[in-house]
């Protein structure tokens, strides 16, 4: 497992006596694109939030390069900086403009100089096509534009893994394409990504592997072709069936 940069081992999460994650185990290899699909409420977001410790897992292990980060004494803030996250609601800092949003983490957490942080932020903003908007505040941007800035903010931290939690679900349909295009471009640079999405077509074209999570467990996993074209699990079949019907 030496080429795995991250591995979840029998991960569990409960809120009170409501067990949301029962037993989640999977590894993430360098440069791999993992997509998570599944019914709403199945535990996809919780899985991502456990990976970057926005939620504290109640059982199991998270190993980074073979080391368990849930053990006492591990520097969690340094770990979080290595695991980027892009949220469904973008969550850009409302008191900062576009450029500052992409610089603040670099300066405070990675201790980069202002000049270096700015250079990296500008480069990434250009990558996502938001460089002309560096002086705008989040409230002045459309949803698609905000999400592209959020992606630039995340990659400016040079994360080892970037997590996406339904990055296009809050967008108007005409803006979905611009965000997916940016993600595709990122994937081509070799960035390791874990994506929760309902964009089945996009998942098929970009993923190395797809996990189907329902009721707090990985019900099925495999290549896009295996999961999307020849699903074995009954739940997966039903999910995809419903999905295709709704999307005509």
């Amino acid at each position: 497992m030496t080429d795995e940069i991250l591995r979840l081992q029998h991960l569990q999460k409960s809120y009170g006596d409501h067990q949301v994650l029962r037993d989640i185990s999977f590894g993430i290899k360098q440069g791999e694109i993992t997509t998570i699909i599944g019914p709403s409420g199945g535990g996809k977001s919780t899985t991502l939030r456990c990976i970057n410790l926005l939620e504290q897992p109640t059982g199991g292990e998270i190993e980074v390069h073979g080391e368990n980060i849930l053990a006492a004494g591990y520097n969690l803030n340094a770990y979080r900086a290595k695991v980027g996250m892009v949220f469904q609601q973008f969550d850009l800092f409302e008191n900062k403009n576009v450029l500052q949003n992409c610089m603040i983490g670099q300066e405070l957490v990675l201790k980069r100089s202002k000049a270096e942080a700015k250079q990296i932020a500008m480069h990434n903003l250009e990558e996502v096509g938001m460089a002309p908007f560096i002086n705008a505040t989040p409230q002045q941007l459309s949803g698609g534009q905000q999400q592209r800035v959020a992606i630039a903010r995340a990659i400016s931290m040079n994360p080892e893994v970037l997590l996406f939690d339904e990055p296009t679900s809050a967008l108007d349909p005409e803006m979905v394409g611009e965000v997916l295009a940016v993600m595709k471009k990122l994937a081509e640079t070799g960035l390791t990504m874990v994506i929760v999405t309902h964009e089945i077509g996009f998942a098929k074209s970009i993923s190395d592997r797809i996990l189907f999570i329902a009721d707090g467990v990985i019900a099925e996993q495999g290549t896009p072709a295996e999961i999307l074209d020849h699903p074995q699990n009954e739940k997966t079949q039903k999910f995809l069936h419903n999905f295709r019907q709704n999307a005509f």
Binding site: M85, F87, E94, Q140, R153, A181, S205
Partner: protein, 531 residues
């Protein structure tokens, strides 16, 4: 003579009384050279405030004003013989007893009667004046010819609130006891306006009112059969702190050396010298500004200082308190216990200071500190501290609310970048929370401008205190308070505008500039990923 005994004085004595028992002989000794005399400097002809040193007036501590009057003349005799320099400490009536017991003043010479209730808290000298009670009425009124107590049947009478005078009306069968009034100036106005037929006062009040209004007369009550006053209450004495027997003996010795004739002369002189309403200008406003402009300006300055410093310091206190109160639990049990204890203490602070009137806080803190720690706080500093702590308690809750109201996503996005809790607070959460709280902070500032008026309890000469002084000297009640209220309005209005501007600035420009060299505005390779 006044026998006012209001609840605040009682409360402070209750709170501080225990210290008396435990600490024995406090303060003094340090400055033997000055003799600090407590008085209202607002009760002519016994005592009043003037702006110059004429007629042998004595400086008022911490101001550029002077006090004079019968009390001051007596005080100077005492000072001369004890070889101590007399300084007047201008103190609200309710603050006199606590000021004495806490050692802020050496003597009360304020036209005060040695009532039984007061004797429990302090000692009194031999009387330095015995007075005659009269009904002051208009010369042409039918009560002007009253010969016996029952002749006042049907008369609408009043007296000063909280004084023995007011109780005396009960001895006049059939007289209608109207609501008591705040001070003599108010009663003079009411008599002139005809809303009352007369009021109970001392002969000295008649002497002084006579010079301003020739149409009044006084009917002596002491001579009427059936009229009875407790001798203790018909006299005025000098208040001395319990246990300070040396000073008491010395004061009594000086008083014994002043003959009745000399006393009468001093009182007549005081009545002649007391502030008169001189009208150089016909316009009352110009006249008021001419005489009191400096005082008013000083009051405005003090009010703004208190409100500004109080709001700024209160903001910092509130910020720190709300930061601590929103800290997440640390993982170590010991630290968690400590943090929770701190949070609990701060919650108590907020509750206590939001749950009690600032006036009471001021009295308790100002007199309490003197009593328990023997520290004589500077009045202005005490006032600043009180407004700051009080404002801090309010703003702590306002800012905490602002922090809690900041969307959860802002915290999470900052966490996901690896920011520590402190970094999240200072760089992301607080700037947003404070911006959202700005209207409440403005409001608190405006409330402070107005509410610092209650600090007159510790005799801080802010605008309202100054207004009260002017009104009781000039007898122009409506005019004075009207001017004062206009000044308050101008101040609050100006501050509102200034803060509106700041809020606009913080909201930022509604437009942003596209960077000129970047032409491309749309999406990169649109459609490539569309399925």
């Amino acid at each position: 003579m006044k026998s006012k005994f209001r609840w605040i004085a009682l409360l402070i004595m209750l709170l501080t009384g225990t210290a008396l028992l435990t600490t024995g002989q406090p303060v003094q000794a340090a400055k033997q050279s000055t003799l600090k005399i407590g008085m209202e400097a607002n009760y002519p002809p016994y005592n009043w405030t003037q702006t110059n040193a004429n007629n042998g007036a004595v400086p008022i501590e911490g101001s550029r004003q002077y006090a004079n009057g019968y009390d001051v003349k007596i005080a100077k005799r005492i000072g001369q013989q004890l070889h101590r320099k007399v300084v007047v400490v201008k103190t609200e009536w309710d603050g006199l007893l606590p000021a004495l017991t806490s050692g802020k003043i050496d003597l009360i010479i304020a036209g005060m009667s040695p009532t039984a209730a007061r004797r429990k808290a302090i000692n009194f000298s031999q009387p330095y004046r015995k007075s005659t009670f009269v009904i002051i009425t208009n010369k042409n009124s039918k009560y002007a010819r009253a010969k016996k107590l029952s002749d006042f049947k049907g008369a609408k009478l009043t007296a000063q609130q909280g004084t023995l005078h007011y109780g005396l009306i009960k001895q006049l069968p059939g007289a209608k006891r109207e609501n008591a009034m705040r001070d003599f100036s108010a009663m003079r106005q009411s008599l002139t306006a005809g809303t009352i037929n007369g009021y109970v006062a001392e002969d000295t009040e008649y002497e002084s009112f006579k010079t301003a209004n020739r149409n009044i007369t006084a009917i002596n009550l002491n001579k009427m059969s059936g009229f009875h006053v407790n001798p203790d209450e018909a006299e005025v004495s000098i208040g001395v702190k319990k246990g300070n027997d040396q000073l008491l003996t010395a004061v009594n010795k000086v008083l014994a050396g002043i003959s009745n004739h000399q006393r009468q002369q001093m009182m007549s002189a005081a009545v002649k010298q007391q502030p008169q309403i001189k009208t150089k200008h016909t316009n009352w406003f110009i006249n008021m500004m001419h005489r009191y402009g400096g005082m008013i300006l000083g009051g405005v300055g003090m009010t703004i200082l208190l409100a500004l410093v109080g709001t700024l310091a209160g903001f910092i206190i509130g910020l720190l308190v709300s930061i601590v109160r929103t800290m997440p639990d640390p993982t170590k049990t010991g630290n968690r216990w400590l943090l929770n204890f701190c949070k609990w203490l701060l919650a108590v602070y907020v509750e206590v200071f939001r749950g009690t009137p600032m006036m009471v806080q001021a009295a308790v803190i100002y007199y309490g500190i003197a009593q328990f720690w023997h520290v004589n706080l500077n009045r202005t500093i005490a006032a600043l501290v009180i407004v700051s702590i009080n404002t801090g308690a309010y703003l702590a809750e306002v800012i905490r609310g602002g922090i809690i109201a900041t969307p959860q996503g802002q915290f999470e996005a900052a966490s996901a970048l690896g920011m520590t809790h402190n970094q999240q607070m200072w760089h992301i959460i607080l700037p947003q929370a404070i911006k959202n709280c700005l209207p409440s902070i403005t409001n608190e500032f405006i409330v402070n401008i107005k509410d610092t008026s209650v600090l007159s309890i510790i005799s801080v000469s802010e605008l309202f205190f100054v207004g009260t002084t002017i009104a009781s000297q000039s007898f122009q009640f409506f005019q004075t308070y009207f001017v004062i209220s206009m000044i308050y309005l101008i101040m609050t209005f100006t501050i509102t505008r200034i803060f509106n501007l700041i809020e606009k600035k913080l909201a930022g420009s509604r437009n942003y500039n596209l960077m000129a060299n970047q032409v491309q505005v749309g999406t990169p390779q649109d459609g490539e990923a569309n399925n």
